[in-house]
Subunit: 313 residues, 2 copies
């Protein structure tokens, strides 16, 4: 198969776009498409400071690489969760992230959960009896809190994550299967700023995982290939398997499911503004000062306080 643009040998064939490209034109295409997604969903402008949440995996490092090449002002945030595995997952991810930032001379913020809270992520989950042996729910809570805190502290204007289409579709699919209307209403490639809460964006939301992986490899990015050891057997991985079968039958089915959802969101859900964003009221946590969805101490502070109490018993 040949590259649509230059007739060299193609390295990737994107059936949903009927588009085969060589390495150089694919790398260029990813940049152009990312720029288009940023503009389409009004994510941010070159005048703004962008904090990229990086895990050391292919998606977030590829995203940081693309944004930097597109000329955006970026910094990275690595949250060391303290997850141990045979290959020392967290330590190795941090090393690769530092290596990436160092060779490109990009600012990187490191936040160590154990240093800051007194416990690594699995201990917080375990002591709070949350997640049936998996710290995923607590991990999400800690990450959301930390990202907003660090971004505010260092005067960033917007927070971006490397979620790809497969991630977004798995979440959408899960929320659709259970018709979780509140979660469905909130799912968006861009979440607007609210008082105390930075805007968030997912510039890779229209790329399939195989595309971000191909980008990382072709751009020569060294990333951690190991998946988080806690992800095995998760519902979202089951859903990804099911969605792969759908995509196999009908190339482009995932992209269509996601894009049509975004298009129809305003017809589907009430109480959305003209950009399709929710008008939910937020409160301020008296303990950390960050916004929270219900009155009183936020879930993050409650969880960390409970962890410290239980640990000192």
């Amino acid at each position: 198969m040949k590259c649509r643009k230059c007739n060299k040998r193609a390295v990737i064939n994107m059936r949903q776009h009927k588009l085969a490209l060589c390495a150089d034109h694919f790398l260029e295409w990813v940049g152009l498409q990312t720029q288009r997604t940023i503009e389409r969903y009004k994510m941010f402008t070159p005048a703004q400071k962008v904090l990229v949440a990086v895990s050391g995996g292919k998606d977030s490092l590829a995203l940081w690489d693309v944004l930097q090449k597109l000329g955006y002002q970026t910094g990275g945030l690595y949250i060391h969760l303290g997850i141990k595995s045979e290959d020392d997952y967290s330590q190795e991810s941090q090393r690769l992230t530092e290596n990436f930032a160092h060779t490109r001379n990009l600012p990187l913020h490191i936040y160590n959960v154990e240093n800051e809270t007194g416990s690594p992520i699995d201990e917080i989950a375990f002591l709070n009896k949350r997640g049936k042996g998996k710290p995923c729910a607590v991990c999400g809570l800690v990450k959301r809190h930390t990202m907003n805190q660090v971004a505010s502290q260092f005067d960033y204007d917007v927070l971006v994550t490397g979620h790809n289409l497969d991630d977004e579709v798995a979440v959408l699919f899960g929320n659709t299967l259970s018709w979780e209307i509140d979660y469905l209403r909130r799912q968006s490639p861009v979440l607007k700023a609210k008082p105390g809460l930075l805007p968030k964006a997912k510039p890779f939301c229209r790329f399939y995982e195989r595309e971000t992986a191909a980008y990382a490899v072709l751009a020569g990015i060294e990333y951690i290939e190991e998946e988080c050891p806690f992800s095995a057997g998760s519902t979202s991985i089951q859903h990804k398997e099911i969605l792969n079968l759908l995509e196999h039958h009908r190339p482009g089915a995932k992209l269509a499911f996601y894009v049509k959802f975004l298009k129809n969101k305003q017809n589907l859900f009430q109480n959305l503004d003209q950009d399709g964003d929710t008008n939910d009221v937020l409160y301020v946590c008296p303990s950390c000062g960050q916004p929270t969805q219900s009155e009183g101490t936020c879930s993050y502070c409650k969880t960390i306080q409970r962890t410290q109490t239980l640990k000192n018993k």
Copy 2:
């Protein structure tokens, strides 16, 4: 595994209900659950005349059997589509349906598409260039028209079909994947009467296909096992395969997806009345007098008129 009710050997284990039953208790359970579904969705009462659309397959014959045993006033409608296969699909289905009605002394209406319109279903589809070699869309159109016509003509009060949970979930899944809001709004186990349009109900909508199949076998019903030869490779069969994988991972997932959809319908869609029914305006077709969704001759009459013109050329 033993029957939950009598400790005899169980013939079926319904994991989503954590319920194993012997043959007698399963047959009883199907009757009770059907009665519960009829009442829950206010489908019809014993005072009403019910027309069962029967294809000769397990679902519709099992439904007719259950309704009759529950004491409802039922008649059957068999629509001979003129589908030929190695085993002469339409002819054999009609024979089994007639046999079922005859042995139970139940009234059966036979409607032969070729006799009434001049062409069997595949010829209508072929001449109208609809469906890319598959007459499924035209078949649905003809069936809907005929069912309402025959039911009105013979003074039935309500029309029922044997759609099971797997059928309903496959349709829901397809419409969700493409976010077809108008189709989603209309999907319901019961459609209320509109001027000229009889109410429709699906009393088997909460039974898995394996349950209706088990009922047909255990109740000694002789039904056509061959699937419609045009169904092979259809999107709805692909969707069923995907949904089976989901159900395999999480028993009860299909039922939850469907039931939660019905529960949330009113929060999801605007312009639904308090029973979750649509308030769409209907017009009257000047040619057949049946209701239609847009002004002028209805799709059925247009299709049949075009078929006759093209055939006489």
